[in-house]
Subunit: 211 residues, 2 copies
DNA sequence: TCTCCTAAAACGAATGCTCGTTCTTTTATG
DNA sequence: CATAAAAGAACGAGCATTCGTTTTAGGAGA
């Protein structure tokens, strides 16, 4: 290294994140395919060449977005898990996290774009598969806790039950995204009703919790 | 009408369906946006002008696909409902219908494309919203039956419970599309476990049912 | 500390291609 | 034979990406 002309590594990372942030904004409002590189570049406030220094194609940007779009909610779930609350309370907190991602600035609409792309592009598909298996693993912890605490039967099939409980998350998110309902409180009442089915004694509390 | 040069109305309808069938094939393999009009026209075996006689834009074709893509599964659910089976058996049959749509020739991957588009295009969004509210209404019938039969508490919140049960469908479909698991039998064991939670006496039957 | 100098970093005009759509022409029908 | 239906060439716009040029950061030599 003679005439070393490099910029700080933090700067490189920051530039990369600047591009990804712009990509998230664009993808959120225009979608993966309707967003042009020009749109994205303009949003980032950079030049064509600058962006192509950090990502060698649009697909590579999409792949990077796909890899990061699950991170927030998984972190949230892991934080819920360490509190070792009753299952329904954990679910309530988890759904709060989903709500965050549904609201303004949330990435669930982008995630939906990514899911769609995952069924068409094997590279994106592999990334998504890995990430959502990780997310299921986080949810699995909640199920194990519920079995340990006696909320679920001791001989319950952990993976099967995890799949069903995990299904509540996209089940909620998609209903909200596509039809606008239900709100979290209502959905939670529904979950509680299923968990407590054939135990009418609990239902007064359920009704009350809906307010 | 003097020198009437019109072709039979059936012919017109058939041509329209021919175009939509080609669209479904293309959208399934290439996605809504990567499919060009040329692709679609070639798949239909028609000319540019012929297609534009029946649909005035690509968006109009997408909208027509969006409107039809839910039909199959809803019809299936309605048929399940008239049999008035126990809830878990109804769910088993409903999930069979979902499996059909997941397999080769099934339209769930296209549906996922459509959901994605629905968050970006208000016209598609309105169509999707209406269709999936209809689907939820079909699922609601199953919940009402379960309340009537005593499988769910008499004072259960019907709409809340419907939302939760309905969530099982996209919850299953998305897990299968994105991660490949679980299979229907496993997911059903999970649902059964949740429905029977805190009733360990039933679990022997649950385990057995998994095979 | 202050200049140079070099290579990385950033720039943006240019490119070639494909897109959705239009429109004129040809064909087929009752 | 009048007209709907089908055909397909043509078009301008916009796309992702390339590449030659300019700017800038920061170590080396004084």
């Amino acid at each position: 290294m003679w005439g070393v002309p490099r910029v700080s590594e933090e700067h490189l990372i920051a530039r990369r994140e600047q591009i990804l942030a712009a990509a998230r904004v664009c993808f959120l409002s225009k979608g993966l395919h309707t967003t042009s590189m020009q749109d994205l570049i303009h949003e980032a406030g950079l030049s064509v060449g600058a962006v192509y220094r950090y990502f060698k194609s649009k697909n590579e940007i999409i792949a990077a977005i796909a890899a990061t779009v699950v991170g927030g909610i998984q972190q949230h779930i892991d934080q819920v898990a360490v509190r070792r609350l009753p299952l329904i309370d954990s679910m309530s907190l988890v759904l709060d996290g989903v709500d965050d991602q549904l609201g303004p600035g949330g990435y669930l609409p982008v995630a939906l774009q990514v899911w769609s792309e995952a069924t068409l592009d094997p590279v994106i598909g592999a990334i998504v598969k890995e990430k959502y298996e990780g997310l299921r693993a986080s949810m699995r912890v909640l199920v194990v806790q519920a079995v340990e605490s006696g909320e679920l039967p001791a001989d319950a099939d952990i993976d099967a039950t995890t799949a069903a409980i995990y299904g509540f998350l996209p089940g909620y998110a998609l209903q909200r995204l596509l039809t606008g309902v239900p709100d979290k409180a209502t959905y939670l009442v529904g979950i509680r009703t299923l968990l407590n089915s054939r135990r009418p004694a609990d239902d007064a509390a359920v009704i009350q919790s809906r307010q």
